[in-house]
Point group: C2
Chain length 444, copies 2
């Protein structure tokens, strides 16, 4: 059976209804049931590695035939090692604690009313993403672990690979007696089907777009379903007057060049005037060594003729390439003002040995992540102990920063009484025995 055929039938609404019904079932599963499904998924990923490679080869052949650039082919390609590491990630996820059922708040009110707020699944999650097919597995298994059903809509250039991965995950889920419709591809391959997904309020609980700026903007603008915005980052590295300059250089180079195409790479450098003379010549030479183009203000350009003039636009850009904007600032407060004006609320780093400066920088900036003497590249779920991440939220509501399992949960408030009503003192429920230890008369 061609996995694509089995997944591409039916309408988006039908898929969402099936997801809703799977979500209803998942809401009453135990963690052990969901972990058994994850273990089955992991085993099948290893067992069916050839199916994935064959599907991936079809996508790669089509991409080559369509003349897609090497960078796209590179992101699209999966090899045995990558599939093995997906399988091992899924196995590790099965070992993590269940995010559901956690009591996030609990109290007994003076009236004796018991209150417990507990973590529950969100329900149906729609995921719209570009690029690497591993996101299909990441998103799918995070949803399964947290008791959510997912509608997955990846890039059309990865359609066969994604279909094979979804088929494998569904097979694993079904083998563990959970509903395979927990994970489905969004039927249809047109913009109309994405648009229908965005309109299904009441059936789809949340949409998570993950990809380029245009994808995210379109989703936020067009969706009637609530959206969690992810990942546009204009991350700054600020080198304070009290910085250890060796450390500053190491952090700057890591933040800019370790993987320049991702949202937590640095896009702007700010240097305190007091250390500009000692830091900038070294930093500019090291950046040039690594083929980084620096877009500098007048004071930065004074150190190196190869620095190109920064325009006003450069301060707000997410290059996602070997480019960086750079300016000299006269104080830490000037750096904070620059970041408030141009930052995207993703990740901001300060390099300083001053406690005062670090505390002030952390308090003054309204951003998902602040790094003190650490690289912006560490703003990542796995690096920060959250495990595999669904994406990095740059919005303030619900989830902010790297999103792990708890971002896929909501809460339910369970209130338990003995006939408690509003505006009246409750019945006495105390039980006292008499002096001989017998229960009071009339009480069973």
């Amino acid at each position: 059976m061609d996995p694509c055929t089995s997944l591409a039938t039916g309408t988006v609404r039908e898929a969402a209804l099936a997801a809703r019904s799977a979500a209803d079932r998942l809401a009453t599963t135990t963690g052990a049931e969901r972990d058994a499904a994850l273990t089955a998924v992991s085993g099948r990923l290893t067992a069916r590695v050839l199916d994935v490679l064959a599907a991936n080869e079809r996508d790669l052949a089509a991409a080559r035939a369509n003349g897609l650039p090497d960078a796209v082919l590179d992101r699209l390609a999966l090899d045995t090692d990558q599939i093995d590491s997906l399988a091992s990630m899924v196995r590790d996820l099965a070992d993590r604690p269940d995010p559901l059922g956690e009591v996030t708040r609990g109290a007994v009110m003076p009236s004796g009313l018991e209150v417990r707020e507990i973590r529950t699944p969100i329900g149906v999650v729609g995921m719209i993403y570009e690029g690497r097919p591993n996101v299909t597995v990441d998103a799918g298994v995070l949803c399964l672990k947290s008791g959510n059903a997912a509608l997955l809509r990846g890039s059309s250039s990865a359609r066969h690979t994604n279909a094979a991965l979804i088929d494998i995950m569904r097979e694993g889920i079904a083998s563990a007696d959970l509903p395979p419709d927990t994970l489905q591809a969004v039927p249809g391959d047109t913009h109309a089907s994405v648009h229908e997904l965005m309109s299904l309020t009441g059936l789809v609980d949340v949409l998570v777009p993950r990809g380029g700026r245009e994808l995210i903007r379109t989703t936020v603008r067009e969706a009637a379903v609530p959206v969690i915005e992810t990942g546009v980052g204009n991350c700054h590295v600020y080198v304070d007057e009290h910085a250890d300059l060796d450390m500053a250089l190491s952090i700057l180079l890591n933040a800019k060049t370790q993987r320049p195409t991702v949202c937590n790479a640095a896009e702007s450098l700010l240097v305190h005037a007091a250390v500009a003379d000692s830091f900038l010549p070294r930093a500019l030479a090291a950046l040039a060594d690594r083929d980084v183009t620096v877009h500098g203000d007048r004071r930065v350009r004074a150190y190196d003729a190869s620095v190109v003039p920064a325009t006003d636009e450069d301060w707000g850009r997410e290059y996602l390439s070997l480019d960086i904007a750079a300016a000299v600032v006269d104080s830490m407060d000037a750096a904070v003002c620059h970041i408030r004006l141009h930052g995207s609320g993703h990740t901001e780093a300060i390099v300083t040995d001053s406690q005062t400066a670090a505390r002030r920088f952390v308090a003054a900036l309204d951003t998902a992540v602040v790094a003190v003497n650490a690289s912006t590249r560490l703003a990542d779920g796995a690096e920060l102990g959250l495990g595999t991440e669904l994406g990095i939220s740059t919005q303030k509501l619900h989830a902010r920063g790297p999103m792990g399992l708890s971002a896929l949960t909501t809460t339910k408030c369970v209130v338990t009484g003995d006939g408690h009503i509003r505006g009246a003192t409750p019945m006495t429920t105390s039980l006292s025995c008499d002096a001989l230890g017998r229960p009071p008369r009339g009480r069973s």
Copy 2:
């Protein structure tokens, strides 16, 4: 000075910019500074009670002149006692713990990198509400306590009262050396100004509509700014076959009649067939005694000729009046299915002495609040220990159920290292003394 004049100048965007700047300042205040402002607000509410009463009298006179119904006049009117209890609520709020700075997650990663996720303010909150002027104070001081600036847009029929209350709160805030623009009325009194407020993405972080169904729907549909949906409730009371029927009657009457115009009042009654004969005749008589009109299915109508036939629409209605829909169900699972189909995800109650039934009901329903042997009317911030509430969220993202102070916060992830970068083992930072207790050579 007429407080209205001072608040109605400028554009909505100017007000939002001023709020943004106040929010930046608030983000670095201590809890003690914000509590001092709350104490000052409380004192001024008491001291300026006559100003509030005079402003309220102007609104009441205008409302009478416009022929507004008694119910509206009733909600609009404030008396000295009510203002005193607002002042005392504000004083109590000052005594509650600061919601900011709480570490919601913390870890030291294997590399030594320190991770702390801390509660921070959301920023600028827009509040659009109808009815009672006390919401002006509730929303204003909750935002102040949680370090947020607020743009308040109340009902135009309460404009003078709201302006006086905002003026008093601003005066208290200024006297404590915090920015008075922390709280502002939305300038202008037209729909255009509300619409502008809804469009200010980047300046306004969240909108909270609180009022009727139409207000909430319009805000959700029209706003570009993220919205927290509140308060439409089709709450059910399910009387299980294992219910204590006296308790069931007491809960039913409280849930339906104690205050029928609010979102946590019961709108639907479901009775297990096994107890219908013993429960329904008593319940229908007691409801009739309290002037409640019952809209029943065929099986309910068999018990009492005064029950009017329920149409399909009745199962989904939020009456907000002395009406209730009622049906007999053959099992608890049938009750759950009915509620899944018609419920609004606000509050659902079960009356039962069976642990099995209670656990199943709680697990199976996807709703903000589930009450076991307790009235739906207890789904309220103060009743559940959260203090004064901003509203009851019926959405799943960010905040669900009664919203207290923590619903007005987001988090910031603070990452601290010693030059930690991605993809490399960190420098050794261990410090060992020699056998004589001296620090190692070369270390200062």
